[in-house]
């Protein structure tokens, strides 16, 4: 089986652009990715569009029609906040199946405020499934199980902002102190306002092709997609993982979707957690950055907050986590955020990350988590 590689990436800054049409935001990212791979839209044989919040019917296809009408198959994908990772898996599968050689995946969204309809209608009537609550409950359990504190979660936000301050694509490019995070209003105990990501606007695009096509197009630094996995709940679902689930069984061991996806991804790549040099994880809020590091097997359960204190996850540390600043700094346009991670890891592996460049990573990892037990994990290597 021929390797599948990333030929080019492009991003539109994540932020708030009320005056901009989603098409303008998306097209900027798409054209940048084409330029980055030195391809034209004529070279694309298959395309995927991710959007979660934007409602306009057919928008994903409408946007690509403005880039070029070449008759290719185009599908729209929604896997909640895991959309980007889920599309990368589909693109890889399309190429390994032999049905095409060059695929464009892009995500775009304009998002503000909380989702109004995440739970079942009766749960929403009671205000039970507003997303901060579901994530905060996991954070509380993490504190109770392992002895982490609100200060540890604040430290995650401080680290994120230290990185985000160096990222021109980020919504927030300011540094924060632990005191500022702890003094920001409590949203859902134990998480404060500055622990949370902010819904915003943005787009990201990635061009994926076969290794053979990469040679034909003279791609100078192809990054191999060594694994791409999309995972949904496997009964019994992880008890308190954010979802509409009303109850679950506690008699048998439940695995989080990220754990399940990571296990498959390591096997597919023939690599282990010890081989990973840089990682972007879903940081809907600070606590889940730690939870997801552990679920990926990058350290033992309950250890991430201690390693954070030691600086292991800093840009200069042994295992830099979210060198982009994560969605805590970039904000989260859910259709685009997963591909935003892929852009960052590609830049890191090519040595193009500027002031936030980590130490010559050879293997990178991306993880996204979406509402209702959805995870996507990918492993990229030079």
């Amino acid at each position: 089986m021929d390797d599948v590689v990333i030929a080019g990436v492009g991003m539109h800054k994540f932020g708030r652009f009320p005056e901009k049409d989603p098409a303008d935001i998306a097209i900027e990212a798409i054209l940048k990715a084409l330029k980055d791979s030195d391809m034209t839209y004529q070279d694309i044989q298959f395309a995927l569009c991710g959007r979660v919040v934007l409602k306009r019917p057919g928008l994903g296809i409408e946007i690509l029609a403005k880039v070029g009408m070449t008759g290719i198959p185009i599908y729209e994908i929604n896997a909640m906040c895991a959309t980007g990772g889920a599309m990368l898996k589909l693109a890889r599968d399309a190429i390994t199946s032999g049905s095409c050689e060059v695929v464009l995946v892009y995500g775009v969204d304009k998002h503000k405020g909380m989702f109004e309809d995440l739970g079942e209608p009766w749960q929403n009537r009671l205000g039970m499934k507003a997303s901060p609550i579901s994530f905060a409950t996991v954070a509380q359990k993490y504190m109770s199980d392992y002895g982490a504190t609100e200060e540890d979660f604040a430290r995650v936000a401080v680290k994120a902002h230290k990185n985000g301050a160096k990222n021109p694509y980020a919504l927030f490019q300011n540094e924060l102190t632990i005191e500022q995070v702890l003094k920001s209003p409590m949203v859902a105990y134990p998480l404060h306002l500055y622990n949370f990501c902010t819904p915003d606007d943005g787009a990201a695009a990635v061009i994926v092709c076969s290794k053979k096509a990469a040679k034909k197009f003279n791609i100078s630094q192809p990054i191999t997609i060594a694994a791409a996995v999309m995972q949904t709940a496997q009964y019994p679902s992880s008890v308190i993982e954010p979802s509409s689930t009303a109850s679950t069984c506690t008699k048998s061991k439940a695995y989080s979707v990220t754990e399940l996806a990571a296990r498959k991804a390591y096997e597919m790549a023939g690599l282990g957690p010890e081989d990973v040099n840089v990682v972007e994880v879903q940081d809907t809020e600070s606590a889940h950055e730690l939870v997801h590091i552990e679920q990926l097997g990058l350290c033992k359960p309950g250890e991430a907050y201690k390693l954070l204190r030691q600086g292991v996850f800093d840009i200069t540390g042994r295992l830099p986590v979210n060198p982009s600043g994560g969605i805590q700094c970039k904000g989260e346009p859910p259709g685009a955020s997963g591909l935003g991670q892929v852009c960052e890891i590609v830049w890191q592996m090519r040595g193009q990350a500027g002031a936030r460049q980590t130490n010559n990573p050879k293997v990178g990892m991306c993880q996204v988590f979406g509402w209702n037990h959805i995870a996507a994990v990918s492993i990229l290597k030079k």
């Binding site: 989702f115 929403n124 009671l126 409950t137 859902a188 308190i240 009303a246 109850s247 679950t248 069984c249």
Partner: protein, 147 residues
């Protein structure tokens, strides 16, 4: 049980059996798969575990232990209708002796007074009146009075 001659109705069909006579306490409705024995909260047609379609209704325990919790300090988005003025509200996962964990509103909204593992007890509370003047009832858990 009716108050002021009104009827009490559950927020969702298949969720709870409200007290029917003086001294009756009511209970939450669970179901058990006849094929694999898995338990679920709220009546359902299909077993998540084995996809069996024969589930029998059972009464769930009225006491459990707090498994994890949060307190929401801002109103959730609609259709949630916050009280005026808004009061932070508690939520938690309650572990029942049967071996299931279910999500519930909890009456305590001070995180300092909540501890994982503490005893919790079921109660029913009025949410609102429906268009026929009936009391729409919801389930909640409160810290156990026995401590």
């Amino acid at each position: 049980m009716s108050t002021n001659g009104k009827k009490q109705v559950p927020l969702l069909d298949g969720m709870m059996k409200l007290p029917a006579f003086p001294g009756d306490t009511g209970h939450l409705i669970g179901c058990k798969c006849r094929k694999c024995g898995e338990l679920f909260f709220i009546r359902r047609e299909i077993c998540e575990n084995c996809q069996g379609q024969e589930l029998e209704e059972i009464a769930l325990s009225k006491k459990g232990k707090l498994y994890a919790f949060s307190v929401m300090f801002y109103p959730a988005p609609p259709p949630y209708k916050p009280p005026e003025p808004f009061v932070p509200y508690g939520l938690g996962w309650i572990e029942l002796p049967e071996g299931i964990v279910l999500f519930s509103l909890i009456t305590e909204n001070d995180p300092k007074k909540l501890i994982v593992g503490m005893e919790m007890e079921l109660l029913f509370d009025k949410l609102e009146e429906d268009k026929d003047g009936n009391d729409v009832m919801v389930y909640k858990f409160q810290p156990g009075r026995s401590g």
